[in-house]
Symmetry: C2
Subunit: 203 residues, 2 copies
């Protein structure tokens, strides 16, 4: 542990994940190799293979790692007010952190490989289910508290994820900040239309 | 021309495009080679290289070809009623023709390559602009005829394309018919909210 470049708190898995992140940002998915990840890790490829048999195993772990990071940021949303909480969730889903663009590109590449790699597909499905579960929970809460009108919660969560995935797919080809801003506004308009009481429907 | 397997009306370019379509359906983007396209074409790789210098040149032409086919189906929409016309456009954008799934996967793969291949990116941008132009035209017409309320036409077109691209991205990872049906319903709800007069707002 003492040779960790990022402090004693790091474990090898987390370090390899951070190295993968940097290697993906630099080389993209198609040109990613265990050698390039090892270079970022500052160790030999054998040190990587000790933890992960294949590049795909490592990338599946990386998808889990991204999901975990995302879940952590979601748990930072501390408000219990359903309307505010839904807003903040949509912010997290649709506002790009800095230096995020290369990761977005790499994730879209992995996503496009899902039909050929079951383990990738499973992670994307799991990720989607988890985020929809969080959206459904806050929407159900809002309906119970009469902050939102009665609605088909499952459909609304799927609709919002369609907008989120659309924004991400468009960000790779078009201007990222525009596509995310458009999607954020669209999500607001959609939430107003299907969840808000009449009075607040048209600002 | 007489050796065309698909009738005298075929030209070599169109035949090569159809061969590319079949090769993509069978092998996917990553495993696509000029040899495999030539096999589908029923001629030598030299016959392909006579028309296209590289695989990327051919694939750029293929993206144009798909756009042209889509524009043709759009021109089949004969109604001039803005509400009906918008509905039919959304149907075309969000209802999958049979055997369409493999093409959807191949197109998402090409889309994920856009950051590395400018010519791919240009085609996707051009395609997006053209479809948004068609959506804007019908929405503007509807506003002029007072079928729709006044709205930010450009934003509404971008919002609808976000839903369309989201559905396509999700279809590759999740169940295709579900994601397209969800997106179609979301598009309807969105159109009702931002374009329809109050009376028809909540069915």
């Amino acid at each position: 542990m003492s040779d960790s470049p990022e402090g004693a708190a790091s474990d090898p898995d987390a370090e390899i994940m951070r190295a993968t992140y940097r290697a993906l940002q630099e080389h993209g998915y198609a040109d990613l190799t265990i050698k390039r990840i090892a270079d970022e890790y500052g160790k030999s490829t054998a040190a990587i293979h000790y933890h992960y048999d294949t590049k795909d195993d490592l990338l599946v772990a990386f998808l889990d790692y991204i999901l975990d990071r995302f879940v952590e940021t979601i748990h930072e949303v501390e408000t219990t007010d359903p309307e505010q909480r839904l807003n903040l969730l949509l912010d997290k889903l649709l506002v790009a952190p800095e230096d995020h663009h290369d990761l977005l590109i790499a994730v879209l590449e992995m996503r496009s490989q899902a039909p050929y790699k079951d383990a990738f597909g499973e992670r994307f499905q799991q990720n989607d289910e988890y985020v929809r579960y969080m959206l459904e929970t806050v929407i159900d809460r809002g309906i119970q508290e009469d902050v939102f009108v009665d609605a088909d919660t499952e459909h609304v969560a799927r609709a919002l994820m369609t907008i989120v995935d659309g924004a991400r797919a468009r960000a790779v080809v078009l201007d990222e900040s525009d596509t995310l801003a458009t999607a954020r506004r669209t999500a607001d308009e959609y939430v107003s239309a299907v969840l808000k009481h009449e009075t607040s429907e048209r600002e």
